[in-house]
Every structure is written in C-alpha cells, then in structure tokens.
C-alpha cells in the first residue's frame, strides 16, 4: 500500500466553507445562541477557531478572553492580542493569577513537588516530561524537571501521590479558564467554542471539565498539520503560524511533545492517520524516516492513550435511561 505525507493535504477553502457552515448551524440552530465565546491562548488552535468563528458568525458575534497567569509566557498574551486585533473582535484580558492563588493551585503545586524535591522553592520553575518512545520502548512514566533560581536543573521521577497532586493542582488553570468562558457565554447568550485539534481530542490531551468542556469543537476532526494549513489560508499573522506548539501550563517552557505526545506533532499526525486507516507500520516508516519498530511503538502508544483517557470523554453515568426526548 502506498503511503505519503500528502495524505493530510486538504482543500483549505472547501474545508473552511464546510466548517463555517457547520458552526452557523450549530450555534444558531442547534444551540440557539447568538454568538461564540472562546479563550485565546496565542496558539495556533485557538487562533484558527477564532478566525473560523468570525467567518461563520461575524466579528461582532465573537468574544475572546485572554487568561494569562503568572506561569504564562509574555509571548502568549501578545500573540493573543495580535489575533484578536487582526480579527477585529471584542476581547477582555483577565489575569487569573489571583484566582489561582485563592484556589490553592500554586501552593498545592509546590507541596506536590516538595514530596520528591524537598528543597524546591516558590521561586523555582518546573515542567512535567515523559521520555521519548523513539529510541527505546520506554514506559510512559512522568518525570519532573525543576530549575532553581541559579539556573541549576534537575529531573526526578514522580511518585504516585506527587504526580496526582501536581496534576490536580495544575488542572485548576484549565478549569478556572473554562468557568470564565462560561461566565461570558451566559452574560452574552453565546456558546463556548472548544479548541482541541484531532490529536488532542483523540488522545485525550485535555482536562475534563476544563479545556475539554465546550458547546462545539470546530477543529476536533483536523490533524494538527491541517490546522496549520487552515491558519495560512485564513490569513492569520505569521507569528502565530510559526510559533512552536507549547502547553504554556508550567513555569518552564515546555513542548506538547515533552509533556504528552512523546513525538513531534508532524509524526503523530501521520501515524494517527495511518493507524486510523489500518496502514501497516512498514509503509509508514519509510515515509517518515523511522524504523518499522518505532512506528509500531507509536501505534501502541496511540492505543494505550485512547484506553487511558476514555474516562475523559465519558458523560456522567446514570442508573437508568431518562425518558426525555430532549436528552
């Protein structure tokens, strides 16, 4: 079977037309809302979603919120503003640092890290990483990398309690942002636009009731490479298009590859496509300069992440079906 990188090529204009038509139907007819609210992170996904919402609903019916906190990079807010201004949409900047402080997020993060690195100080920086699966069939075991104020770095493996506590504390960030988005959605009678791409949606790279929560998700069917294609076609600023994907969640700069996917998005895109289309690893390997063994590992990782994150997609479970035709 022939496999090439071209499998991800799309007709951008047709795709934009399809998505914007769907957004209009979903927001106005199915959700019965007057517009869309979304959080703008300065990343490619939320920027493309904002541009699609503007095309679908009109700039006057889209409201964006920029929600930086003390660990966000300064670049994120500048890029968020750049997108909002270029799309001519109303937006608000809501620094959530105080809300996170009040929730205990930062304090709980420090406590969690001190379980394994007792000297970790409040002025230190950190990030969570997983090992690459390309060089060896490594287990997905999370590590923490910290940096002291004098620049010294160290990496340790998590214990179960420290890992869970750090993630629980950090998830406050996505959940508080979503609360603010719904505040504005309620205030304006708008729907909330979720911004995951296909990799994130399929592999469960989101926080339940945080960034995973939304009323519609217009790019959840698009591979990350396709999101970049749409960004260019939509005329988004070059700075957005050329920014490497980041989680912008921890105080140390961190790529999505380090934190979750273990390989670059270009490789993940092609492997997920190939996996979804039952293409044998040997046909994929030669096209992306990996060995057959490496592609097999990525396939295995795709399967195990799907299983591990199934819970995130699940609706609340009921004891019996409720007889209500609107549900």
């Amino acid at each position: 079977m022939k496999f090439s990188r071209d499998v991800l090529k799309i007709n951008e204009q047709e795709e934009i037309e399809k998505i914007t038509t769907t957004i209009r139907t979903q927001v106005f007819s199915e959700l019965h809302r007057k517009g869309a609210v979304l959080g703008l992170s300065g990343g490619i996904d939320s920027s493309v979603c904002a541009a699609l919402c503007v095309k679908a609903l009109g700039a006057e019916n889209v409201f964006a919120i920029l929600m930086p906190e003390k660990d966000s990079s300064q670049e994120s807010i500048e890029l968020g503003k750049l997108v909002a201004d270029s799309l001519n949409i109303n937006y608000e900047i809501n620094d959530i640092t105080n809300l996170l402080q009040a929730s205990g997020c930062y304090k709980f993060q420090v406590e969690a890290i001190r379980e394994i690195i007792p000297e970790y100080g409040e002025d230190w920086k950190c990030k969570v990483i997983i090992p690459s699966i390309l060089d060896k069939d490594r287990l997905n075991i999370f590590h923490i990398t910290v940096q002291s104020p004098d620049g010294k770095m160290q990496t340790r493996r998590f214990t179960p309690t420290s890992y869970l506590k750090l993630i629980a504390a950090t998830n406050w960030k996505q959940r508080i942002r979503k609360c603010i988005e719904y505040y504005h959605a309620d205030r304006l009678y708008y729907a909330v636009c979720g911004t995951p791409n296909r990799l994130e949606y399929d592999q469960g790279f989101f926080v339940k009731n945080g960034d995973g929560s939304a009323d519609f998700k217009p790019i959840a069917h698009l591979y990350k490479s396709q999101v970049y294609m749409l960004a260019k076609a939509l005329g988004l600023p070059e700075k957005i298009i050329h920014r490497p994907p980041t989680t912008d969640t921890f105080s140390l700069a961190q790529t999505q590859e380090e934190f979750f996917f273990a390989v670059s998005y270009e490789i993940m895109d092609l492997c997920l496509y190939a996996y979804n289309h039952n293409i044998e690893p040997k046909f994929v390997a030669s096209e992306i300069n990996l060995t057959e063994e490496q592609v097999k590992r990525i396939y295995k990782d795709i399967e195990s992440k799907r299983k591990a994150t199934r819970y995130l997609h699940m609706k609340p479970l009921l004891v019996e079906k409720i007889l209500n035709p609107e549900l």
Partner: protein, 86 residues
C-alpha cells in the same frame, strides 16, 4: 526469594489495585498495557510498589515495556535484578 513468590505478589497487587478484585484472574502472559489493565498512572503506582516492596531502585533505562508488559515479564525481570543485587 523464589520467582513463583514474586509472581504471586505482583499478580495480587495488580488484581487488587487495577481490577479492584483479588479474586479476578489475570493471565500471567497477557499484555497489561494492550489489555488496558494498566495505564500511565498505573505504571507509576506499580513501579513505586515494586521499589518499596523489594527496597530497590529501577534505572530509567530499565523502565521499558519489555520488562513490565505482563506479570511474567515483571517477575522474570525482577527475579533477575534481585539475583544480580545478591
């Protein structure tokens, strides 16, 4: 320590912690990851349990699927590691 004893301890831990029932049966050769019994969080728990139980520390290079994919794989790897420590 006999390998059979290690197998029993690992098997009981997996059944109790990931299947929530020690009476359930798990084939000692079944892939714990492919079958969905253990996920990444479960891996951290399992590693921590083994390190604490046997008072050992795994090197990062040892934390590969080949050593932890099934109850038998874990038992073999652990048995050999403990033998080498002696």
């Amino acid at each position: 320590m006999h390998k059979e004893e290690i197998t029993l301890i690992v098997s009981n831990y997996i059944k109790k912690n990931f299947l929530f029932d020690e009476k359930k049966e798990v084939d000692n050769d079944i892939s714990l990851y492919q079958s969905g019994i253990i996920d990444s969080m479960g891996t951290i728990e399992l590693i921590s349990f083994l390190e604490n139980t046997y008072k050992i520390r795994f090197d990062d290079d040892e934390l590969i699927a080949e050593n932890f994919d099934s109850i038998n794989a874990i038992s073999n790897f652990l048995y050999n590691k403990l033998q080498n420590i002696k």
